[in-house]
């Protein structure tokens, strides 16, 4: 009796889960299979699978300087931007905890960047950074810091930082809000005990807050790192990968090969290598998270 009940429940369970599993397979597993097949072929957008070329596409990809640079840039960008967002986000969360009045209003303000469509945000930053009449140039000129307007997005040195600032604007508040929520859950007694023992603000942060928050911060780092490797929208609107290939990251380069040059076979090989590199760099980050959480648990 009991066993059949358990079995029946499991059968219903698979029935309920079915559509969701199919959706996940269509969006995640099926593309992998198609990509592998396409990567071994000569394919265009109009005529897929025109002939088999073996591993030629991969050989070409490994020798492609723009692609190799794009991979390195993607990983470095993700690491830098994620670290910035975590450090600033934690700082803002601590600030929120100190604020006695208007905290709710501040949290509302922090919620807005997270919801802003990235393309609209990119358009806003384009206008802020514009050389003629942009907000930043006008402010810097008003303060007498620069004489002639700076073309931030056209400069090989400033284009990436400009994208990173827009990224920080969008996601630092997300880290701040979640960290703030995490801070509310920390046991108060620990901090009271530390204060009585004479621990200062920095000591309390370093020896109490940070270790207690570590599991949450490790999760946030992993999540934001994964999201940062997907960078596309900001690049598309702000720099279109330029100047030259300066801001051409993995996703953007693949987009150009596939949907502007229509070389689908080659793009498939690039995508597989890109996915591998992102996966391999995510692994240590996710491992770090497990270690932190085990230490805690």
């Amino acid at each position: 009796m009991h066993e059949t009940w358990v079995k029946r429940r499991r059968r219903i369970g698979w029935l309920l889960a079915g559509p969701g599993i199919v959706g996940t397979v269509v969006i995640a597993l099926y593309p992998l299979v198609v990509l592998v097949v396409l990567s071994l072929s000569q394919s265009s957008l109009g005529q897929p699978l025109r002939g088999w070329v073996g591993l030629d596409n991969f050989g070409r990809a490994l020798a492609d300087h723009v692609f190799r640079a794009a991979l390195v840039k993607t990983v470095i960008y993700a690491l830098v931007v994620t670290s910035l967002q975590l450090i600033l986000g934690v700082a803002v969360a601590l600030l929120l905890q100190q604020v006695t009045r208007g905290g709710a209003l501040l949290r509302t303000l922090l919620l807005l960047p997270v919801m802003t469509p990235p393309v609209m945000l990119a358009v806003a930053w384009r206008l802020v950074l514009a050389p003629s009449g942009g907000l930043l140039n006008r402010m810097l000129q008003g303060l007498g810091l620069i004489e002639a307007p700076v073309t931030f997005l056209g400069s090989p040195r400033l284009a990436f930082p400009a994208i990173a600032i827009a990224d920080v604007w969008q996601w630092m508040p997300f880290v701040a809000l979640l960290t703030f929520a995490g801070l509310q859950l920390l046991p108060r007694e620990v901090f009271e005990a530390a204060s009585l023992d004479g621990a200062g603000v920095f000591q309390r942060f370093w020896h109490c807050t940070l270790p207690l928050l570590a599991p949450l911060l490790a999760s946030l780092f992993l999540l934001r790192f994964i999201m940062a490797t997907k960078l596309f929208d900001l690049v598309y609107v702000l720099t279109a990968g330029g100047p030259g290939f300066t801001t051409t990251v993995g996703s953007f380069y693949i987009y150009r090969v596939a949907f502007q040059q229509f070389n689908i076979g080659y793009a498939a090989a690039l995508t597989i290598l890109f996915g591998l590199v992102v996966g391999l760099t995510t692994l240590p980050v996710s491992r770090l998270r497990q270690v932190v959480q085990r230490l805690e648990g």
């Binding site: 969701g20 959706g23 600030l95 919801m115 806003a124 604007w169 809000l177 949450l216 596309f232 996915g275």
Partner: protein
């Protein structure tokens, strides 16, 4: 003796806090102001530009003396903003409903009926780690084979499936916090599994389900890459795609670009303002 030393320590603590109070308050205020300026600047600048004429902007007026409202009608006339907005909202709402329909039973089956062990949840969550560009080319061929390229329905289906991992993650957390005893009581009363899920668990979890739906809707509303690749005409293009194509082409004037972006941003802000409590609940649901 001991009592006294404690009182002394306390007194010195109070003295120290009083001395540092003013300085700390000023420092706090400055930090908060900097944060507010940083957060508000881009959007506030859009607002100002939307009522600034090109001439006023080039002459260096940061705050136009006579607001130039003509940017608004001109932007709406130059670009099919209403059509884009309608497409964005339809795609967001329908795909969010689809995501919930796929992921709520999935989450319930995994958490309560304990199917799939540890493998299934990790598979669903891992599929979120892949960059969307990975799915872009294969999905393009599927949609073309189904005749769904340049169709809003194609986008709805893609978003509906693509957001399942996010919804699963959020719903999983909400479900785990719900005590199981209530469902057990329903089973003992003879209610079937599916009936229990729909009539007992779903109403209890309504806040979490709605928060999840809103988050997935916003994700779909904001999505750009798939919309860029899978739609070609204004009949099916969403606002981000429309805006990205027209900026620098037809919307050469900053004021009109600002209007177009504001039109895209304001609906989400309105929604966020109205449903803030639920949204924060959804976003912070993962913290235990």
């Amino acid at each position: 003796m001991e009592q006294r030393s404690i009182i002394l320590v306390e007194r010195s603590l109070i003295m120290r806090t009083r001395q540092g109070q003013l300085g700390r308050r000023i420092g706090l205020l400055v930090a908060v102001l900097l944060l507010v300026v940083f957060l508000a600047a881009p959007i506030a600048y859009l607002g100002i530009l939307s009522v600034t004429s090109q001439g006023q902007m080039l002459s260096g007026q940061l705050w136009p003396e006579n607001p130039y409202w003509d940017n608004w009608p001109i932007a709406f006339r130059t670009v099919p903003l209403v059509q884009f907005l309608r497409n964005s909202i339809v795609a967001a709402v329908l795909s969010a409903i689809m995501t919930l329909a796929l992921s709520f039973p999935l989450a319930y089956a995994v958490v309560r009926l304990r199917i799939g062990g540890r493998f299934l949840p990790s598979l669903v969550l891992a599929s979120y780690a892949a960059p969307p560009i990975v799915a872009a080319i294969p999905l393009f061929f599927v949609l073309r084979a189904l005749g769904l390229i340049d169709q809003l329905l194609g986008l709805v289906l893609v978003y509906g499936m693509a957001n399942v991992p996010v919804a699963f993650y959020l719903l999983d957390n909400f479900l785990m916090r719900l005590p199981e005893e209530i469902e057990e009581a329903a089973w003992l009363d003879g209610a079937g599994t599916i009936r229990t899920m729909v009539t007992i668990v779903l109403p209890l979890m309504a806040p979490g389900v709605i928060a999840t739906g809103i988050i997935c809707g916003i994700l779909a509303y904001n999505e750009f890459l798939f919309a860029l690749l899978f739609t070609y005409s204004p009949a099916s293009q969403t606002l981000p795609v429309g805006l990205s194509l027209y900026q620098g082409e037809r919307l050469v004037q900053y004021g009109q670009m600002a209007v177009a972006s504001l039109v895209g941003i304001l609906p989400v802000y309105l929604l966020g303002g109205l449903l803030q409590r639920w949204l924060i609940g959804g976003l912070t649901g993962g913290i235990k």
